[in-house]
Amino acid sequence: MEMPRPNPVVLSLKDRLVSRLKQVLPEDAVIHDEAETRAYECDALTAYKCPPLLAVLPSSTQEVSDVLRICHEEGVPVVPRGAGTSLAGGALPTADSVILGVARMNEVLETDYENRFIRVQTGRTNLSVTGAVEEEDFFYAPDPSSQLACAIAGNIAMNSGGAHCLKYGVTTNNLMGVTAVMMDGTVVEIGGAHLDAGGLDLLGLICGSEGQLAVVTEATLRILRKPEGARPVLMGYDSSEVAGQVVTDIIKAGVLPVAIEFMDRPCIEACEAFAHAGYPMCEALLIVEVEGSEAEIDMQLGLIKQIAAKHNPVELREAADADEAGRIWLGRKSAFGAMGQINDYMCLDGTIPVSSLPMVLRRIGEMSKEFGLDVANVFHAGDGNMHPLILFDANTPGQLETCEAFGAEILKLCVEAGGCLTGEHGVGIEKRDLMLHQYDAADLEAQMAVKDVFDPAWLLNPAKVFPLAVSEARRAQPQAA
């Protein structure tokens, strides 16, 4: 993956920048020692590393504004960083960039149960947002698998999803307002406790903009009352075609489960060894979860099991108790970790129309043989968000490159099937150069025009999202010091 060459003019500014930043931040919030900046050299896409020029850890919106204003004046690129869990390289620095980490900003600013929202600083982790309202039986719905670690800032930047978005939507559907800082230091307030924008939907635009339009420092998030209960059912099938048909039939029947998860055999085996969830060994496993009172759950699962039974499952089992339900989900949620114990892997997240599931899985199987690398599939079947995990050995020369080439082919396949390159992880650097497979030049031009408005000098996370050749003319040119 190519990154732009560092701008020597910016590199030469380091000392001046450090002293200017120290005027607006506490001493320990400006990290410039080379041993320490290394902590920010990558995110969860660990194949790519580059220590930043320096890193700053502001504690307030004002401090973020001061940092951005200074970097803007000096013409220095800034890469915003939440918890650094991006799988797409969204927080990967360049040598001439300042990492702006929001980790110190993790306060709850307001909880309002009557109006059902919470306002937090965006360094707060996803799970701890729910943690702050759990006592009153409320929760924050988007639940990416990394929810223990990932920050709301990154969730907003990538418009993160999770297993339960079939019912509750993704981040953008649960985000009511933000305080954000533009590259020139201007603080903007968008939305809030009221619904929908009075003018253009700038909130919807900022959500998912990968930290390229503004740095979001505070967020108003929709919180929901927890359902009375939830229970998953496990079903195993001999083929993924049949499992795909079951998903479609359930949805058509008018039942809207809160989640429908799919795993194929390699994934089932790894997860079972890891979590001992009692998964059946078969070609395709579905976990379908519904919510409500005990009686409502019984009724909905009754309907779902009827549909499932028609397709000759090799296993059809409801969780008998909370403990079993917990293990079923633990298996699924630890899929990436379980695979990681066996192999290095690359996780993709292309989305496809549910109807093309069997075709796409078959083609991935064929490609796996062509490229000589194994693939395990785990994904959110209800909304077609796939997570093929390509297994490789990072220590074998050439395997990373083969893996990347394979991954690119899978993503192109997703687009051809009527889907998209990324459902919830974001483009970052990982899918940047594939963008022209999904969008043509005019489509990308319209998106880049938005960045021109928010960040005319293209200093905010500039080398992401758009193919480098496409954004080249816009990205910051060397400036005189």
């Binding site: 009557e114 059902r116 993704v170 929908d196 919807g204 390159l421």
Partner: protein, 376 residues
């Protein structure tokens, strides 16, 4: 009046590229808006492109009548969950509302409070920008974070950034049954508390409105057994706020919500109609300040419909409350004087103007509709 009636996206793109003056974009023309410029009707770019009930996805061309879409969905027991309002009764207009018009206005009904707004169900768009360039964004899958979300930006841009030609929507199953609970509340403050209690319950309330002349309405939808169970649990929650009656006939219940959706109590008579979006618990105080002839509260109080004497500058009475006020029904003169949309504060105004300048460099698409009213 001369009207452009393109039959395809390509034809529309050519017309926009070749336009030498302002254009006024029209779907079904039921929103009662009008302005300077040659009318471009999108009604000819119509038809269902793709419908996959098992994937909950519908792709339609922008000029497709909403009624046609609802019929297609109903045949598969599905629906548009954001419950778009029909403006004809309120505005005394005729014509057929189109899906493009609904999306352009981000029009959402009572279920917005639970299911989300129109923009939350919008998966993808195709549009012709102000230079006549065709642009695609999003797609037809439910999760898509590939590049910037211009889909949301287009929803509610009222044709000022581009003319929609095709939209992809997420649809949902139509529930088996529904019921409405009515709480005998007279005071808005009590009603808002009752609605907050219902919406903050685990019982999946899909509508919470207050008509001072009818009481607080709470809607539940789902499988029949669920609806009756939740109705009884909600009754326990709501009884402290006033006597509760249950309307369990689905037809009666759906008629109540159709009337609330379309603001039926304001149909016919004179007066301007405003639509305000506020924090629900602010609503009683805000409504009192409006000195309106009649108000209706939807979205648990977060949406206020206000009927006021013609020409009233309601925004001047709002004070510093967070939220916004849209002028939905008024004479052309009042609309020109007060502006349909809430003026945006800086720096948001500057950003919005910047976006409009980029998407419509010649400023020819519905000029002035979303911009600040010109100071007299």
């Amino acid at each position: 009046m001369k009207m452009m009636t393109p039959k395809s996206e390509a034809e529309l793109a050519e017309m926009v590229a070749g336009a030498d003056g302002p254009l006024w974009v029209k779907g079904g023309g039921t929103r009662g808006l009008g302005g300077a410029g040659e009318v471009v009707s999108v009604a000819g770019i119509a038809g269902v492109e793709l419908y996959e009930p098992g994937a909950l996805t519908l792709v339609v061309r922008a000029g497709t009548p909403v009624a046609e879409i609802e019929a297609v969905l109903a045949a598969e027991n599905q629906r548009l969950a954001f419950e778009p309002m029909d403006h004809r009764g309120l505005l005394g207009t005729t014509g057929e509302p189109t899906i493009g018009g609904v999306v352009a206005g981000n029009i959402s009904g009572p279920r917005r409070v639970q299911a989300g707004a129109c923009r939350d169900f919008l998966l993808g768009v195709r549009f012709v920008d102000g230079a006549g360039q065709v642009v695609r964004n999003g797609g037809r899958v439910m999760k898509n974070v590939t590049g910037y979300d211009l889909v949301k930006l287009m929803a509610g841009s009222w044709g000022t950034l581009g003319i929609l030609t095709e939209v992809a929507l997420k649809v949902l199953p139509r529930p088996e049954s529904e019921a409405t609970l009515t709480v005998a509340t007279a005071e808005a403050a009590v009603a808002v508390k009752a609605m907050a209690a219902a919406l903050g319950s685990p019982f999946e309330v899909s509508g919470a409105a207050f008509d001072p002349e009818a009481g607080t309405r709470i809607r539940i939808e789902g499988f029949e057994s669920s609806v009756s169970y939740r109705a009884s649990r909600l009754q326990e929650i709501l009884v402290p706020f006033g006597a509760v009656t249950v309307e369990s006939g689905p037809e009666q219940s759906s008629a109540i919500w159709r009337d609330l959706r379309d603001v039926a109590p304001f149909h016919g008579g004179a007066g301007d109609v405003w639509r305000l979006s506020v924090k629900p618990t602010d609503a009683p105080e805000v409504a009192a300040r409006l000195r309106a002839e009649r108000v209706l509260y939807d979205w648990g109080g977060g949406l206020i419909w206000a009927l006021v004497p013609e020409g009233t500058d309601l925004r001047a009475r709002l004070g510093g409350v967070a939220g916004h006020a849209t002028l939905v029904r008024a004479s052309e003169a009042t609309r020109a004087r007060l502006g349909v949309f809430q003026p945006e504060p800086e720096p948001l105004r500057r950003i919005s103007e910047g976006l409009r300048a980029r998407f419509d460099p010649r400023g020819i698409l519905n000029p002035g509709l979303m911009a600040q009213p010109v100071e007299a």
